[in-house]
Structures are given as structure tokens and as C-alpha cells.
């Protein structure tokens, strides 16, 4: 792997939650390198520790063991220099702030730029996720899909190098979900950041990713890292291609074994 692949470097990351006698090991010896501008998805059964891995990288939880470097620094040091983007499953917007105020909040907290420049940055982020015209609405008056768009906007407004997304479309209905993953494809193309993306949807993973990390269950271990060599830039219609279907089938057999395969043949 080239130097470029060393933007994020995980070495033997393990996480054990204290529990009865032995404790519960959710992540066991995770090794992974991610290059700049990579889009890497994590898939696996519930409880395989993919969300925990993301939270560890974000510094929300410490690993029990292992080494974690971002851009040659500890993740804590990195995040204090270059703020991370994080999109949660349910948007976690602040209900007392309007859409524009929510998108503006990270700029205020980080103390980025002057108020006038902040206003342009906020508008640009809102335009990027196509919520123009809804700036003054409160989260309660936005639909689930719009809230998630807002959550993406507020995570991109300060132009992070690294965007962590923890099942960002998991709480949405199928139509909205599909619409938003198409949107994310476009948005990522326009922003040039590295994305770590946890999802339960295999088509979503194939559509968006450069590589898909398939995790085993209990304890979470990497089973296989599947490169998705669909050409970039990709568009939503790539879903109809033969290569897309092949990747999907491969992932399904990795996760569900050949059981599923046999039934449909």
C-alpha cells in the first residue's frame, strides 16, 4: 500500500465492554488503513461493532487496546487540529435552533472565520444538500430526510477532511434512503473528503464505496475487505450495471453464506 493509504491507520484495535466475568468483546484486533479521499463502508450483522469502531475513531470512546493514527497523529490530536465531521443515525439536530443556526453552530463553536464569511459558508452548505429555502425552519418542521440532509450540511460546513457517518440513513424509509444515498454520491464528489460509512444496506455500500469492510460477528473481526472497482464518477444508474450486481452478490454471500445464493438459483 502506498503512503496515500496511511491517512487513517488502525492497528490491532480491540474493544471490550466490561460485563459479567469476561466482559463483552465487540471489536477484536482490527487492522485497517484508509487513504485520503477514500470512501470506505463497514457492513456486518448488528452487534459486530461497526458503530463502536466509528465512535472510537471519533474519540467518543477509547479503545481497550490498539493503536489509532490519523494523518500521523493520535486521533485526539488530529481532531483538535482538524475538526471531524460526524453524522449520526437520527440527525441529532438541536431542536431550539433553526436549520441555518444548526448548520452555523459548528462554525461558532470552532470559532472559524468572521460572521460574514460564516454566513456564506452556511448558505453554501445548505445549497449543497439542496435545502435552500428552508433555512428558517426548526428541525421539528422538517421531514426525516430533510433533517438528515441538514445533519450532513452541518458536518460539511467546516470542510472536514474526514467525515464519519454512523448509519446516517438507517432511520429513513426506503424511498428517502435511496434518494439520499444518490445525493451523498453527488455531495461526496463535490467535497473531496474521506468518508467512513457504517451501513446495513449492501446496495448503499456498493454504490458509494471504494472499499467495503465486511465485519464478522461477536467478536467483530474483519472478514474481508472488498474493493469496489466501479468507475468514478459514479451516478445512480450504476445500480443497473452487471458489475454492481456482481459486487452485491459477493457481499451477500460473504455475510449470509451461500444459503441465500442457493435459494435464488
Amino acid at each position: 500500500m502506498s503512503e496515500e493509504h496511511q491517512f487513517i491507520h488502525l492497528e490491532a484495535i480491540s474493544k471490550t465492554f466490561p460485563g459479567v466475568e469476561t466482559g463483552l468483546t465487540v471489536l477484536d484486533q482490527i487492522d485497517l488503513s484508509v487513504g485520503k479521499r477514500d470512501f470506505v463502508s463497514f457492513v456486518g450483522h448488528s452487534g459486530c461493532g461497526k458503530s463502536t469502531l466509528l465512535r472510537i475513531i471519533a474519540g467518543l470512546e477509547p479503545p481497550t487496546a490498539g493503536k489509532l493514527m490519523i494523518s500521523g497523529m493520535s486521533n485526539e490530536d488530529y481532531a483538535s487540529q482538524v475538526p471531524l465531521g460526524f453524522v449520526f443515525q437520527d440527525a441529532a439536530l438541536l431542536p431550539w435552533k433553526t436549520l441555518a443556526e444548526n448548520v452555523r453552530l459548528p462554525l461558532d463553536i470552532l470559532g472559524i472565520e468572521t460572521p460574514a464569511i460564516r454566513r456564506t459558508m452556511v448558505q453554501r452548505a445548505i445549497d449543497l444538500v439542496r435545502l435552500t429555502g428552508f433555512e428558517n425552519l426548526f428541525p421539528d418542521h422538517l421531514s426525516g430526510g430533510m433533517r438528515q440532509r441538514a445533519s450532513i450540511a452541518r458536518s460539511l460546513v467546516y470542510r472536514p477532511e474526514l467525515l464519519l457517518m454512523d448509519e446516517p440513513f438507517g432511520a429513513l424509509d426506503d424511498f428517502t434512503r435511496r434518494e439520499l444515498s444518490d445525493e451523498l454520491l453527488r455531495i461526496w464528489g463535490e467535497t473531496a473528503c474521506t468518508v467512513l460509512f457504517v451501513t446495513h444496506s449492501l446496495p448503499e455500500a456498493v454504490l458509494l464505496s471504494d472499499r467495503v469492510v465486511v465485519l464478522d460477528n461477536k467478536p467483530g473481526r474483519i472478514r474481508e475487505i472488498v474493493p469496489i472497482d466501479l468507475p468514478r464518477p459514479r451516478w445512480a444508474d450504476v445500480r443497473a450495471s452487471r458489475a454492481f450486481a456482481d459486487h452485491l452478490l459477493h457481499l451477500e454471500s460473504l455475510i449470509f453464506g451461500h444459503r441465500h445464493h442457493d435459494q435464488i438459483s
Binding site: 481532531a79 431542536p95 435552533k97 470552532l110
Partner: protein, 262 residues
């Protein structure tokens, strides 16, 4: 204005109609019963007699209600401010919380009626003991609610702000205070009434002015008409206070889905 606005008003009136009708029919039955059964005024005065008394004694009654109301408002504001400041201090020091909170519970268990005479001895027959009793009644519920509201910020919001490395002060300014506001108003809607009760109770044990003084004196003289007048006016005053708090709440909780009640 618009049709929908008219509809709203009509609906509001329709909603209040049953309770207004109940009130009116109770008054009518009361009036008729007293007249037909010839109940003497010193036992149960008819509503018309009570209202006539309110009109004739308006100067004295309104002045005294006003005195009590002033004490209740002052006590309410002081008690609420103390509770809010205490809740903030708990946020910064677990030790302070552990030291103070059990005593707040103890103070809460003391019947206000029992300490009112003591406060009168210490603070005299003026405004001070009434304000103190009213304030003490307000502290505990507000403290408990405010404490909970400041702490109960959605974990995902806290996680999000942690990702941004927000300082505790930023967390307070952007999240905790807003989160606590609905809890605060929920407490205040209860404590305004308690402040009024506290002020009246303090007047029972010795005061020169106030609706509580009038109630006590009317009781000695078995003047039921005056008692009813005083009861009616103090509940109207409490109701006004309650609606003032409600109006402030409407402005303060400006975002949709804010209220923890209703």
C-alpha cells in the same frame, strides 16, 4: 382575519364553553338554594351578596390583595432565582450537589405553616416574612426540575458537541440552558400558586396587611361574606399570576416541540 383564524377562535371558545357553563350553573344553583332555603349570610352568603361586598369593600380588599400579591411575586422571583443558581452550581460541582441536595429535601419536608410563625418572629410583621415563606416554597420544585433539565440533554447532542470539542461553557450556552427551559417553566407553573399560598400563610401568623390578614380577621368575626370575597379575590390573583407565567413561557419556549407538559 382569515377563515382559519376565526375557526381557531371559535374552537377555543367551544373548548372553554363546558367549564364556563358549569361555573355559571353552580353560581345559579348556589344563589337559588340560599334564597329558597333562606340560609343565613353568616353560614353561606349567596354569590350576589359576595359580589356586592367585593364592590363595597373594593378599596380595602384590592389594596390587601395587592400587598399579598407583591409578596408572592417577590418570593416567587427570589425563590426561583435561588433554585436556578443552585442548579447551575450543581452542574459545576458534584460535591456542592451532594452537600446541598439532601438539605433541600429536608427543607422541603418542613411544613411551611410550621416555620411561618418563626419567620414572623425573626423578620417582623412586614413584607419580609411573607416573601421568605413564598420563596422557600418555590425553591425545591424549581431546583429539582432545573437540575434534571440541565442534565437531561439528548446523549446524541452531547456526542455531537464532543466531536466538535465544544467546551463545557459552549455545551451550556448552546444546549443545556435550552434543554432546561421547558423543565423550568413546568416547575414555575406550579410554584406561582405555591408562592401565593405561602404569602397568605405567612400573613395568618401575624401581619399588618394582606389578604391573609383579612381572612384571619373575618374568621374571628365569623364574617363568611368577607371570607368568600377574600377567597375569590386571592384565587383570581393566583390565576393572573399563573397566566403571566404562561405568557412568558410562550415567548421563552419559541421552538416547536419544546414544552414538556401538555
Amino acid at each position: 382575519m382569515t377563515r382559519s383564524h376565526d375557526g381557531k377562535l371559535a374552537r377555543a371558545i367551544r373548548q372553554r364553553l363546558p367549564s364556563a357553563a358549569l361555573f355559571a350553573s353552580v353560581l345559579v344553583i348556589w344563589e337559588l338554594a340560599v334564597r329558597i332555603l333562606k340560609v343565613p349570610n353568616y353560614l353561606l352568603p349567596a354569590p350576589s351578596v359576595v359580589f356586592a361586598r367585593i364592590v363595597t369593600d373594593w378599596a380595602s380588599l384590592s389594596q390587601n390583595v395587592w400587598v399579598t400579591l407583591e409578596a408572592a411575586i417577590a418570593g416567587f422571583v427570589i425563590g426561583t432565582v435561588i433554585a436556578v443558581l443552585a442548579a447551575f452550581s450543581f452542574l459545576y460541582s458534584k460535591t456542592v450537589e451532594q452537600a446541598v441536595f439532601p438539605w433541600a429535601v429536608v427543607i422541603k419536608t418542613i411544613p411551611i405553616i410550621a416555620i411561618a410563625p418563626l419567620l414572623t418572629i425573626w423578620l417582623g410583621f412586614g413584607m419580609a416574612p411573607k416573601i421568605a415563606v413564598a420563596a422557600i416554597g418555590c425553591v425545591f420544585p424549581t431546583l429539582v426540575n432545573m437540575n434534571r433539565g440541565l442534565a437531561a440533554v439528548d446523549q446524541r447532542v452531547i456526542d455531537y458537541l464532543r466531536v466538535l470539542r465544544a467546551s463545557p461553557r459552549q455545551l451550556l450556552a448552546h444546549a443545556r440552558i435550552y434543554n432546561a427551559l421547558p423543565y423550568l417553566f413546568s416547575a414555575m407553573k406550579i410554584t406561582v400558586g405555591m408562592a401565593m399560598v405561602g404569602a397568605i400563610v405567612a400573613e395568618f401568623t401575624g401581619a399588618n396587611f394582606g389578604i391573609g390578614t383579612i381572612i384571619v380577621n373575618a374568621g374571628y368575626r365569623q364574617d363568611a361574606t368577607l371570607l368568600f370575597s377574600a377567597i375569590f379575590l386571592s384565587s383570581v390573583a393566583t390565576l393572573v399570576l399563573y397566566y403571566v407565567v404562561l405568557a412568558i413561557e410562550k415567548v421563552a419556549l419559541f421552538w416547536p416541540g419544546a414544552s414538556v407538559d401538555h
